[in-house]
Symmetry: D2
Subunit: 317 residues, 4 copies
Amino acid sequence: MRVITFFKRSCASTNIFGRKNFSNVGFVGLGNMGGHMARNLLKKGYKLTVYDVNEVAVKSLVKAGAQSAENSGKIAVDAEVVVSMLPSNQHVLDCYTGENGILSSVNKNTLLIDSSTIDPSVSQTVAKQAEQSGALFLDSPVSGGVNAASAGTLTFMVGGVKSNFERAKPILEAMGSRIVYCGDVGMGQAAKLCNNMLLGISMIGTAETFNLGKKLGLDPQVLADIINSSSGRCWSSELYNPVPGILPNVPSSNGYKGGFGTSLMAKDLGLAQAAATRMEAPIPLGALAHQIYRTLIANGQFDKDFSVVYEFLKGHR
Amino acid sequence: MRVITFFKRSCASTNIFGRKNFSNVGFVGLGNMGGHMARNLLKKGYKLTVYDVNEVAVKSLVKAGAQSAENSGKIAVDAEVVVSMLPSNQHVLDCYTGENGILSSVNKNTLLIDSSTIDPSVSQTVAKQAEQSGALFLDSPVSGGVNAASAGTLTFMVGGVKSNFERAKPILEAMGSRIVYCGDVGMGQAAKLCNNMLLGISMIGTAETFNLGKKLGLDPQVLADIINSSSGRCWSSELYNPVPGILPNVPSSNGYKGGFGTSLMAKDLGLAQAAATRMEAPIPLGALAHQIYRTLIANGQFDKDFSVVYEFLKGHR
Amino acid sequence: MRVITFFKRSCASTNIFGRKNFSNVGFVGLGNMGGHMARNLLKKGYKLTVYDVNEVAVKSLVKAGAQSAENSGKIAVDAEVVVSMLPSNQHVLDCYTGENGILSSVNKNTLLIDSSTIDPSVSQTVAKQAEQSGALFLDSPVSGGVNAASAGTLTFMVGGVKSNFERAKPILEAMGSRIVYCGDVGMGQAAKLCNNMLLGISMIGTAETFNLGKKLGLDPQVLADIINSSSGRCWSSELYNPVPGILPNVPSSNGYKGGFGTSLMAKDLGLAQAAATRMEAPIPLGALAHQIYRTLIANGQFDKDFSVVYEFLKGHR
Amino acid sequence: MRVITFFKRSCASTNIFGRKNFSNVGFVGLGNMGGHMARNLLKKGYKLTVYDVNEVAVKSLVKAGAQSAENSGKIAVDAEVVVSMLPSNQHVLDCYTGENGILSSVNKNTLLIDSSTIDPSVSQTVAKQAEQSGALFLDSPVSGGVNAASAGTLTFMVGGVKSNFERAKPILEAMGSRIVYCGDVGMGQAAKLCNNMLLGISMIGTAETFNLGKKLGLDPQVLADIINSSSGRCWSSELYNPVPGILPNVPSSNGYKGGFGTSLMAKDLGLAQAAATRMEAPIPLGALAHQIYRTLIANGQFDKDFSVVYEFLKGHR
């Protein structure tokens, strides 16, 4: 395997004079993830203007030192860079291209960094419209979840023009510990969806395998040892095993609480499915993984970590 | 992950006086795998009596120093240990419990080691009948393929009574480099089928993911770097990538020649499916992986490495 | 479509002199189905000798006029025809080929009719052994369920030599209203498994479709009208609709009680899967239908009609 | 089953004075389907103005008596009713809501009938915008294919306000023989996608079943007779059997030529998948059917009738 170069958090986030590279930063979307990310920017000394429909979330950030704006468009008026963290394709479209959206008042050369997880084609659509306004768009979805957002250790998968990526690195390093360049606009999203689709498949596969093994009489710990030193091993079997008691600090050993929720996995698999449909790429296991998570959620397990699929297949009998 | 203890090939294969622990070894099944395994036993100095329906295979081993017998039963008359390597459930049943089979003439305390990959319940059936004859049965399927069989570096996954396993270790070490104890009789088969089912799933998942990524515009090498340092990684993405050109010495970079054939993968998935049906364990992705390999084989790719599923999903258009 | 000829219940069950064509009938397996079938033979005037491991079931039939025997073998000593109705491959093998089994004491030209639903290859194995004893074997699985067994309106799907089929017709007509010749031995089983696999697939498909339609805003009754007059229609949408309230007298309109249980559907799909694996025939949807029923059963719905899959997909939210 | 009322082609298409109910009709989209539909309107005496990007198609209609317009917007200026027949979501959005689109110049109370097969939510989006312009929108996808379009025997599945539906009936009856009201806007699309999803599932299920049956030794004609009088029957087994030679006038008996192409089935399954993802409705078999058609197309069978899946599963070996 070629070694991937990760850009470590470092003094690169300041220029040679020790100052932040951006004086005014806008931030739209202060939910579970965005709230922590914005807070980390404040901690690193950035001057921040924020917007969210949720006024409580806005007030909390203002208390922490941010300014607030009436809408996304107002944020764009003064910002040199705007970061957004929103829940869906439609939210991103509204935030950027809607009335009073960012593109209605953005300045030339403003850097727009969207960290939402959405369809790559929506990122590409927004990027095209941003370009017409003279702004510079990057898609930059994250992995790592709420804990990493809070600790500032997110991974950012970034798509866009390479020089824009270089310009964005310092501010991303203020929120994350791994900043990965994935290619043209949309490729950040593509990389995230691809990784998470394979993750969803291998988690269900691991759950099936360990449930079958146990029913056949295998000790799950012995099976884990064998698989993890053999060709069946994957991240889910090694580091996030869905069988309670195999690994100490994973959701399966804690009642499937915390972690990466089934609803988020189902959302990402739905985005992967939409992308595959558009590209006419067959994804039989990815499509089925999506349906399994949908069925599991319909049967009540919507607030558990995605490794709970082990329990769904094992059943209650 | 707990560290698994692998038993290294060592002087443990001889007793403290430097002698082989078995003076007469029988070997039934001299095919692609068994032929090499038997040859390695000869090389290590074992006195070998062999049987196969294929006379050419028998002659070749006789030339190498083995004796031959008329049938499996004849082999059992004098052997202290018998190793078998056969292609299917029915072959194993015939070889052990059929007329002129091993159990028709086996001695008390003879060690019977079956290295065929079969249904765990068949191993358990044979073991029960062996016990009635006073013989000691171990299931001991292998992984590693023809190359490892030739080099004597197979992995053996062994099920049976622990003391029988200890007694068998030296002779297994003459043919393999990893000897893993998996539990009671049948658990060697169970472990192998579980591992290979998860392997089949993650290989197809990897193929889907890289095909989708490429169609979305991602550079496969960049995607490999991202996934292999993220939660989507698995053995298939890291060490056996199905996209030509990512890794130098894997079948995908050599026209999908060699390696682990689609027919063997389909066979193992069929055995996993049968075991899951019997245990009433749901294996949605495992079942679909089986069907994908069957469809791929029906469409002509029966003589390629199992990573060729990438080409099947990518298509010819 | 060619018209299929069904053999109606008629005086054909007696010969021209008005007598039953068999004077001594044996019956093995007096469970939910077999008990009713045996009782119908008594009602039609057959002299019956029965066997079951369940003594209560035997006593009940004796009270109704049957004689009892110690084991299957004893039944075969005097019978001109033996009917068996057993729950699994293994039960059939034991009943026919085991110690004290039917074949241990069967007479030449005795007609053996197995109405169990099992693997076609097991029927073929038993038939071959029966032939060696000079007996004549037919596989003859049924459809129609407990109600049809009680009413004597079962459908029999029969495989075996045509002249044996003709000889068996009168006694089958005493228990059923449709007697269908399917071809050589095993073809009765093959036909039943094929039909039920397609039934399982189309039931799940119907359930998915109506759940999706309802979520999209369609009135289920309107959707039923449209589909049932279009290319999507199937027996499950027309005559056994899984949506409560569409049809009056089906399990879905009665809390999914009665009907054809999920466990029986899962069993038949498992048999179809085993047959497909052996024949190397890809059955992607059949395999997935099997897994869906297994998952549904694992999640508690093992005692409902198989149309309950609609509720499983719809969920509780 | 409740009887569905189909509105037969009748004098209802003229008012009581024998005149057409619309004097000016616009038509956008003159492809394989739309060309025939427009021609049928001309034949019935409607005054027609047409538009398509393909100038050859336009000229052909002009030759047949239609007038042409520069763009969709120009058509809307004078039309009392506009019919559109376009290949995708994006085409419909552009045609109605784009620059020079229909809604840019539509009059109050103009009836807009979109017969494209698209996502129900796109129909709903367009309908909402049409309402703001005072126009009246109906979604009205068809079934029946090119032959029915040519013969004027299409089925229209219509969604929208009931009184608009009544108003549209005469013009739809000029192009089709069955006009079905499905409910609110989008429900025509929903009904079509639901029907076609179940059709795709049952076709693949039928193909699997007959391939398995044949490999087990069943005569396909015998199997067809059994299934078609049993619970496994569906439209695909009865009227469109995918096994060559079972039925005389279906694509399978003519080299899988003509009929309903695999690409169109894959498109409809993709739309059903997108709708299911949005509604969070699990469609495991529908999703897999989609992937099977995608895989089949990737392997070269893109220009065949969708029953060719039988050949794909049977394979070339």
